[in-house]
């Protein structure tokens, strides 16, 4: 008997065994449930119901314990170890997470690149997919003969893109020289001068965008611009807040934006801080972040506008987890986690105090004290590289922070090493925004004053940092040119944008690192039919009467789309966005089929990195850490989006 038929017979035997196992197991589960029911004093007929219910549900229950719960717990353990299959496990604490989240070492850098790629798929791919799906659905939402056939055709790619065959067809069509896509494009471009211009503009745009993104993903130094980014985010949000509604009690949309921004920042920083070197300022940021997160949670009230006790549980758990992490991570410096505990516990205390109306003031006072405390901690000489913080006051008074514009070494090393200051600023922005969001519900007038002051400070900061950023690039370029040294800021981007593409240039789909991701996105657009069906169902649910009423009022197509269609299908939109973002992190098949040795790293998504690490290199420990990071991100995304889905209209 040959190998494959032997394997099939064995599998059939196992399948039969499994079936028997499930039957016996189900009966046992049923009996166990019945015993519990009897022990809890249920009536005989109730016991029978429990028996049958658990008996039927048992296949899933057993499967859940064996294939989901058990493995998930095991992988949590593996993620703290160095574990290669067949070799003994060694406990390494947080090393895996530290390496991955901080981008340390070759694998850490690869992981951060994979995360940047995944983010690209989310930020560029998902919107394009949504637009395609909505466009298709609107085309199909017409009563016409044969529309069902078109629906079938539009959906077909989804079925086929799940497997390798259609992807291979794309691969062949995308071949750089002489592939169908390029030959067609060149023919079209050659036929008329306007098409030629569009063709070249397309090549130029794609290469410019992707080389810029590659520069950012590689961590090309951006000099003082990094201080401008958080300050600009903060200023923009604050601006919208100051201009927005300020009615107490009623949540303006602007506040939601503020909470969303600060919560995202906080989570990012907390994740970074938890695995950071203890002396890294990121640690303190994380603690501050936990405090702010606690404050955000404390803002939660139920339908009856009452505070709930469970909001205190997450901060307490976070404090415990933080302690556990430090102890398990081998950090015996008590001084490090005591402030952590205090900081995490602070919002809890504050909320407890604020529950009585007479003691409201401590919330703002306590927050301010916390902030000042961090600044003081941050300034302890020697411990936390306090010198770099001098940038903050310099910027706030509109002075340049570049003190030696003539020294290449200074610009390259010393100035580039001021990331802690930038990160600190992120934390400050997060804290201010989060605090304001909380404060607005209780003290709108005080919050407004604080917001105005913060807006002024952030704006000054941003302006100053942008001016310095330009100076930094100019100074660097001048010295590099004079001394004949290569320029290391965004070299790919500069090369790509230096010249206008000439006549013979073709898009190097898939083989070139700048074209790998666009190729993949084109294919996901091609297979966006699942989203289309969801949009189509939503579109069919929009009452005709709305459009008729709008027509009577003289609305045009554009207005009808923005004022009726879009709000009415927002639940479907919301759903498609969530699913799209999650799918972007999990992209695998397309990458596996379309990769080439040159573009593998530029295509790799988080899921592909996981596959590489675990199943090619058999690094189970680190693979488990990756899978947990992924799982946490996905669950957080889902929860966050459901929490902030207030722009979604659900028909009551």
């Amino acid at each position: 008997m040959d190998v494959s038929s032997q394997a099939r017979w064995e599998n059939l035997l196992w399948a039969a065994g499994t079936a028997i196992f499930i039957v016996v197991g189900s009966i046992l589960v049923g009996y166990a449930a019945k015993r519990v029911a009897r022990w809890r004093g249920l009536s005989a007929s109730e016991q029978r119901k429990v028996y049958w219910g658990f008996l039927f549900a048992a296949p899933w229950i057993i499967g859940f314990v064996v294939f989901v719960l058990g493995p998930a717990l095991a992988s949590l353990y593996y993620s703290f170890t160095d574990y290669k299959l067949g070799k003994p496990m060694t406990w390494v604490g947080l090393d895996n997470y530290r390496e991955l989240l901080l981008g340390q070492g070759a694998q850490g850098r690869r992981f951060s690149q994979a995360m940047f790629n995944s983010f690209y798929y989310m930020a560029v791919g998902v919107p394009l997919q949504i637009v395609t799906a909505l466009g298709m659905a609107m085309l199909l939402n017409n009563q016409m003969r044969g529309i069902r056939i078109f629906r079938l055709i539009f959906y077909l790619p989804v079925i086929l893109a799940g497997g390798p065959a259609a992807l291979l067809a794309w691969r062949y069509m995308f071949a750089g020289n002489g592939g169908f896509v390029n030959v067609t494009l060149q023919n079209i471009a050659g036929s008329f001068f306007l098409f030629d211009w569009i063709y070249r503009a397309f090549i130029f745009t794609v290469e410019a965008i992707n080389s810029l993104y590659a520069g950012i993903a590689e961590g090309s130094p951006i000099g003082p611009f990094k201080y401008a980014v958080p300050a600009l985010i903060g200023a923009l949000v604050l601006l919208s807040l100051v201009r927005g509604e300020w009615t107490p009690g009623k949540r303006a949309r602007a506040w939601l934006v503020a909470e969303l921004v600060s919560a995202t920042l906080i989570i990012l920083l907390a994740a970074r801080a938890l695995v950071a070197d203890p002396l890294d300022p990121g640690l303190l940021l994380g603690i501050g972040a936990l405090a702010a997160l606690g404050a955000l949670l404390a803002d939660y009230r139920d339908e009856n506008r009452r505070y709930r006790l469970w909001t205190l549980i997450p901060p307490l758990l976070a404090a415990l987890a933080l302690t556990a992490v430090f102890v398990l991570g081998g950090q015996t410096e008590w001084s490090l986690y005591i402030p952590a505990l205090l900081a995490a516990a602070a919002p809890v205390t504050l909320v407890l105090v604020a529950r009585t109306p007479a003691h409201r003031r401590p919330i703002l006072g306590g927050g301010a004290a916390l902030l000042i405390g961090f600044i003081i901690l941050r300034l302890i000489p020697g411990q936390l590289d306090g010198g770099r913080l001098s940038i903050l006051p310099q910027y706030l008074t509109l002075q340049s922070a570049i003190v030696q514009p003539n020294s290449l070494d200074y610009l390259k090393t010393e100035f580039a090493a001021t990331t802690p200051a930038a990160l600190w600023l992120y934390g400050l922005v997060a804290l201010v925004l989060g605090g304001l969001a909380v404060a607005n519900n209780r003290y709108p007038r005080a919050a407004r004053t604080v917001a105005l002051v913060a807006l002024a400070a952030f704006s000054l900061f941003a302006i100053s940092a942008v001016v310095d950023g330009v100076r930094y690039f100019q100074a660097y370029d001048q010295i590099a040119q004079a001394t004949g040294q290569p320029n290391y800021h965004f070299s790919q981007f500069r090369a790509a944008t230096a010249t206008w593409p000439d006549k013979n240039r073709v898009p190097l789909w898939m083989t070139n690192e700048l074209w790998a991701k666009p190729s993949l996105i084109l294919i996901t657009m091609w297979s966006s039919g699942a989203g289309m069906l969801i949009f189509l169902a939503a579109l069919k649910g929009v009452p005709r009467a709305f459009y008729e009423a709008a027509e009577v009022d003289g609305a045009n197509l554009w207005q009808k789309f923005w004022k009726i269609t879009l709000p009415m299908i927002s639940p479907a939109m919301f759903y498609n966005i969530v699913i799209g973002i999650i799918a972007a992190l999990q992209t695998f098949d397309t990458i596996y089929i379309l990769r080439t040795p040159q573009t593998e790293d530029d295509l790799a998504s988080a899921a592909f990195f996981l596959f590489n690490r675990t199943f090619r290199q058999l690094e189970i420990g680190q693979g488990a850490a990756v899978s947990w990071i992924l799982a946490v991100i996905i669950v957080l995304l889902t929860v966050l989006q459901f929490r902030y889905n207030k722009w979604v209209y659900y028909e009551a």
Partner: protein, 303 residues
């Protein structure tokens, strides 16, 4: 019609107002519909073209495939490409492996999902709410969370390089979305039916088999089709677990063909294998597309 119908005194002989054939055609056609059809056709071209190109390439010669060319179909179709493939042992083995794996998974998964969905829809029992919420909670858990430890589990069981890791988990009602779909359908079956059966002395197992299952056929068909397509296309699990040429299923076979370091790349062979690979999915999809549409709009997943 442009005939004058109005004042009897002013009426003119009809043949004068008769427009020519072309104008009549133009008036009969709704311009908006025409534009819509044009857009729909252009979009269809975009969606169908890769498949057409695949089929066309599979009939070309090596020389043709290596050159830049735009013609969809070759002047001289090489049916031989298919004959060659069908004689290949590895192709036959991969194809039968795929059919085998998909069949086993379908039997196990559909049966267990029908059982579990029955418990969640037709039976009333204490604890149902909790177990059901737990199940719906797993919808949020990404597959990646358990991929790595499952591998360790199967490794310890000695199941690597066997079909077991791919087929056996299905027997435990994998896929919360599909359970949900069947449950929703079963909820819509009238209560009186099982009550009548119960009075006749049937136990829940008998009610499930004789009353509920025959009535749930549309839902069962929907999940069968979903599972079929999902399994037939499944690349990552076979890739991780099979690791042995004799056990390869079609997706790996096709993907491997692409990795051969041959020059020139035998695209015509790859495309011929691809065509044979997608035919079952295509046929199933076209015959059962109604179920797809229903299933997706109901659960929102693509299976």
């Amino acid at each position: 019609m442009a005939t004058v119908s109005g004042n009897a005194q002013l009426s003119v002989p009809p043949q004068v107002a008769q427009p020519n054939l072309f104008l009549r055609f133009v008036r009969a056609v709704d311009a908006r519909a025409l534009i819509l059809y044009a857009i729909l056709l252009a979009a269809s071209l975009f969606f169908l073209f890769p498949m057409a190109w695949m089929a066309g390439t599979s009939l070309k010669t090596v020389e043709e495939v290596g050159q830049p060319q735009l013609n969809l179909l070759p002047a001289n179709p090489q049916w031989n490409n298919y004959a060659k493939l069908l004689q290949e042992d590895t192709f036959y083995r991969a194809y039968t492996n795929s059919v085998f794996v998909v069949s086993v998974v379908l039997v196990g998964t559909v049966t267990s999902i029908a059982l579990v969905a029955y418990a969640f829809s037709r039976l009333e029992w204490k604890g149902r709410g909790v177990v059901f919420a737990l199940m719906m909670g797993t919808l949020m858990l990404p597959a990646q969370a358990t991929l790595v430890p499952q591998y360790v589990l199967f490794h310890n069981l000695g199941w690597i390089r066997t079909f077991n890791p791919i087929t056996i988990p299905g027997f435990f009602a994998g896929g919360a979305a599909l359970i949900f779909l069947v449950r929703q359908f079963m909820l819509s079956i009238p209560r009186e039916l099982d009550e009548a059966a119960m009075i006749d002395g049937a136990n829940p197992l008998q009610i499930w088999w004789y009353v509920i299952m025959p009535l749930s056929r549309p839902a069962i068909a929907t999940i069968t089709v979903f599972l079929f397509v999902g399994q037939w296309n499944n690349l990552i699990n076979p890739l991780i677990y099979l690791q042995r040429a004799e056990l390869f299923t079609m997706p790996i076979y096709v993907a491997q063909k692409n990795n051969l370091q041959e020059s020139p790349i035998p695209w015509q062979d790859i495309m011929a294998a691809s065509v044979l690979f997608i035919i079952p999915v295509l046929v199933v999809f076209i015959l059962t597309q109604r179920y797809f549409v229903e299933g997706i709009t109901m659960t929102g997943t693509k299976g």
